[in-house]
């Protein structure tokens, strides 16, 4: 790795990726399991059946173990914006800081206050208050996700701002545009609903393990029913929001969409690759076939991108060359990346001169330069690039992550409906009883598949938007702090070792807790 990562930009990216990936191992389970536990406790509250209480408490124990490490890995992310991305912090702090502060004030305090009631309040507060605390913990976790995803969405689609050349930063002009941008809305629902699926898969997998051991069958069936319904709601809505996410990506990050599909030369009536293997020899400047093998669905990508089977979807080469095809089928020119680089440099130059005009109090010159800056600001980030190809993300990583995510999502849809059918119509599966054991194994295997699916989604979102820290405005190399490579290498390895050690402990504790609880008769032995 030391050979692969050469400079402080690479190491800063690697550190952020490392800490974000570790954090995301735990967050979706908190989001998904939180909702499942709240529903279980609601069942207890309504029925006052001690069995529901036992079921709630089992999952709450696992929730607590996971929650702690999620918190531990999360704190570093917020502060890394300052420690490792200091230019970024100033350039967009006026916009980005607000959602983070709101997250702290509105969401984190709700979570941290009511989680104490959730764990320690069974005998201290009324059942109704306890139920409210459990729901508020789950809601607090989702609200926290909302604000951080609003911030992330803004980096992908900067809106509701204006650039102030005097302060050399972007300044917010519309909070609603930032908070309610289509990118933010889609990202929030897509992410949180996918977390429901992960929570569901976790409960189903653990319950399957217990059933395999022949323990606490009633408890497992109760858990399975709740988890499966949550999972089905989650996966169906994740697919719906996945489609709307693709539409916003096509509109605002067409290069990412092209990378997701490995599409170099786009067109109208564009097919989507259902399965394919990329040609490793393919680059933007050769005529190799992009795929060694592909199975495509006609019109698929045009429908995904614009809800129109005949719409034009640009490929990587089209975007670089500024080429499009209109409804009449004629090739027309849009802005090329070479021109964007030129206009970005123009904006930078005008900005440099604006400072001088400001100092000499030459207002006429300021107005003249201001116009140049405003006209070219949307291309500012390109001014830092030397070649158009620098604006192309890692195609193989984006392509395979996207296709794994979609395939795994499809599998989860089928899997969850099959589990639902097995729970409510067991007679349909009488002939398959001999395969029951394998079904449990499949359910257990589904847990890591769901984690990989969830992680793949983030890889698509973040790798696909490279090289931008802020889409089109700020490339990574301009966003970083003034640190030596050695410093960031050191903290990278510290976090790699510490987080890995904590992950090992987390998995070990969760496994031990499951084993321990499964040996008990849960309906008798809960306190």
């Amino acid at each position: 790795m030391t050979q692969l990562l050469l400079n402080v930009v690479d190491w800063s990216r690697a550190q952020f990726a490392l800490t974000a990936c570790y954090h995301w191992l735990f967050v979706p389970l908190t989001l998904g399991l939180g909702v499942i536990i709240a529903i279980m406790e609601t069942m207890y509250y309504r029925t006052r059946d001690e069995k529901w209480l036992a079921t709630t408490k089992l999952w709450m124990t696992l929730f607590g173990v996971n929650f702690a490490i999620g918190v531990a890995t999360g704190i570093i992310l917020e502060f890394e914006f300052g420690t490792n991305w200091s230019n970024y912090s100033w350039f967009v702090g006026d916009i980005f800081g607000a959602p983070l502060a709101i997250e702290g004030i509105l969401a984190f305090f709700m979570e941290s206050t009511f989680i104490a009631v959730m764990f320690f309040g069974w005998k201290k507060v009324s059942p109704r208050f306890h139920l409210a605390a459990t729901w508020l913990t789950a809601i607090g976790a989702s609200l926290s996700a909302l604000w951080i995803l609003v911030a992330n969405a803004w980096m992908q689609y900067p809106t509701g701002v204006t650039f102030n050349p005097e302060t050399m930063r972007n300044e917010m002009t519309s909070f609603l545009d930032v908070a309610l941008s289509p990118m933010a809305i889609n990202k929030f629902f897509h992410t949180v609903l996918s977390a429901w699926v992960l929570g569901s898969a976790f409960v189903i997998g653990v319950s399957a393990w217990m059933l395999l051991r022949g323990r606490n069958r009633d408890h497992c069936l109760r858990s399975l029913k709740i988890a499966t319904w949550v999972g089905i709601a989650g996966i169906v809505l994740t697919m719906v929001t996945g489609h709307s996410s693709a539409v916003t990506v096509a509109e605002h990050q067409p290069m990412k969409l092209a990378a997701m599909e490995g599409l170099y030369d786009g067109g109208r009536d564009q097919a989507i690759v259902a399965f394919g293997v990329l040609n490793p020899e393919k680059t933007v400047d050769n005529d190799e076939n992009p795929y060694l093998f592909d199975f495509s669905i006609p019109y698929g990508l045009s429908v995904l991108a614009a809800n129109d089977p005949h719409s034009f979807v640009p490929g990587i080469n089209d975007l670089i060359a500024g080429r499009s095809i209109n409804e009449a089928g004629d090739t027309v020119s849009t802005i090329s990346y070479a021109e964007r680089i030129e206009r970005g440099k123009l904006a930078k130059e005008a900005l440099a001169q604006y400072g001088e005009a400001l100092q000499s109090e030459n207002t006429a010159r300021q107005a003249e330069l201001r116009k140049i800056i405003d006209d070219n600001f949307n291309h500012l980030g390109y001014g830092y690039l030397e070649r158009p190809e620098e604006a192309v993300p890692n195609v193989p990583l984006t392509f395979y992550s996207f296709h794994f995510m979609v395939a795994a999502g499809g599998y989860l849809l089928v899997f969850l409906f099959v589990v639902l059918a097995m729970l409510y119509k067991p007679q349909w599966f009488k002939r398959l009883r001999k395969l029951e054991k394998w079904g449990y194994y499949l359910a257990i295997l589904t847990v890591p598949i769901t984690y990989l699916c969830s992680m793949s989604g983030w890889i698509v979102a973040e790798v696909g938007r490279q090289p931008w820290t802020i889409q089109d405005l700020m490339p990574n190399k301009v966003a970083i702090s003034d640190l030596s490579v050695g410093y960031v290498q050191t903290t990278f390895w510290i976090f790699a070792v510490v987080f890995t050690a904590l992950l090992i402990a987390d998995i070990s504790i969760i496994c031990r807790q499951i084993a321990k609880k499964s040996k008990l008769d849960l309906e008798k032995d809960h306190d």
Binding site: W85, S86, G97, L483, V498
Partner: protein, 380 residues
């Protein structure tokens, strides 16, 4: 509202969050005592703090987020520059977060003693280094801010540059910052003893904590007086209302107190409350409300220290490398629009504080006992 008022308002909010964070560092203070606590009584202390650690953690995160939102230039300059100082603080909180939940769980791989050591590290490093970080705002740091740097192509494009190669470690070596850090540490230990006296119903713990209170509060008072003397005799960076014309002025913080008599009055009131909380708890062994008296006093004192740091035409983060780069409320804040939006959100802060207080009361109105711990499944 004008930008000027909004900037002052947000410094007020920062002072409230900073003060609440210092109050909640009692959790860290308690953790630092574990090593000297009888093993049989340790679970009581850990479970008492374990029900509050997330509030300290959340206050720290919110303090950081609010600084980012309201004074982003400080966020980018200090965090990116004093890298090792902030990373050490964050690292100590990372290891704390898991320690409570994992320490007594079967299968925790590394054993209970390992997690208790993590709590000890956080208990010492957290308050001391947070104190050092805040002290560097009084005594200055070595950095420059050149916004046009961002236009550099190929060269160094970083706006805020740290000119000391130790990147924050130099602050720990500065005796004035260390003094401040140790003062915060002993305040945290003092508040922890008062909290245990209030929260735990156990004769031995109570007796032991009174002994700790006597020693820690005595050290704290000495350190506090020394810190005040150093701050009040130190020079500070003066700045005009537009955030320009910066110049070092002797006894700036003392002048600020004298100019803002209301801040001085509150400061003294806060000191009296802290001393009264400690004194009454030491003299009357049945008195358990010391945490509220000393806690409120420490919150008021910290708030007023923030006020003399940032108000009355003072650069709250003086640059020792380039006076013009010093950060003040005017040149480092967010725009009018953002501060206005955030101010609307801040209306919810009292509501948040109210529900925290309400839940705290609900959970703690019956003191923690060994019997309760024995009867509960979820314990640390």
């Amino acid at each position: 509202m004008t930008h000027y008022i909004l900037q002052n308002y947000w410094w007020l909010i920062m002072s409230v969050l900073g003060a609440l964070l210092v109050f909640m560092l009692m959790v860290q203070g308690g953790q630092s005592m574990l090593i000297t606590t009888d093993k049989a009584k340790r679970p009581l202390l850990i479970n008492s703090m374990g029900r509050k650690w997330e509030l300290t953690f959340t206050t720290l995160v919110t303090f950081g987020g609010a600084f980012f939102a309201s004074f982003p230039l400080f966020y980018s300059t200090s965090f990116g520059g004093a890298y090792w100082l902030w990373m050490s603080i964050l690292f100590s909180f990372v290891i704390q977060a898991v320690a409570y939940e994992y320490r007594s769980k079967a299968g925790n791989v590394y054993g209970t003693a390992f997690y208790d050591t993590l709590l000890l590290i956080n208990g010492v490093v957290g308050p001391v280094l947070l104190g050092v970080a805040v002290a560097s705002m009084f005594f200055g740091a070595e950095f420059t801010v050149t916004k046009a740097n961002i236009l550099n192509a190929g060269g160094n494009a970083t706006i805020s540059q740290w000119t000391n190669p130790l990147h924050g470690l130099e602050a720990i070596a500065d005796w004035r910052c260390l003094l401040f850090g140790l003062m915060v540490f002993f305040l945290a230990r003092t508040l922890a003893s008062l909290y245990f006296i209030n929260n735990i119903d156990d004769e031995e713990v109570n007796r032991c904590q009174h002994k700790h209170l006597l020693i820690n509060s005595a050290i704290f008072v000495v350190l506090f007086l020394a810190t005040c003397a150093v701050i009040l005799t130190s020079p500070g960076m003066a700045v005009d209302d537009n955030g320009e014309n910066l110049a070092m002025v002797d006894y700036k913080y003392l002048h600020n107190f004298l100019d803002m008599w209301w801040a001085l009055a509150l400061f003294l009131l806060g000191v009296v409350a802290v001393l009264a909380g400690i004194g009454k708890s030491l003299l009357d062994k049945r008195f358990t409300g010391g945490i509220w008296l000393a806690g409120s006093g420490s919150i008021v004192v910290v708030m007023t220290l923030f006020w003399v740091l940032g108000y009355n035409g003072t650069a709250y983060y003086p640059s020792l490398s380039d006076a013009a780069s010093s950060l003040n409320l005017r040149n480092s804040s967010s725009s009018v629009f953002t501060l206005t939006v955030m101010s609307v959100v801040s209306i919810l802060v009292p509501f948040v504080l109210a529900y925290i207080a309400w839940v705290w009361h609900k959970m703690d109105h019956v003191k923690l006992t060994t019997g309760e711990l024995d009867a509960t499944d979820h314990k640390y």
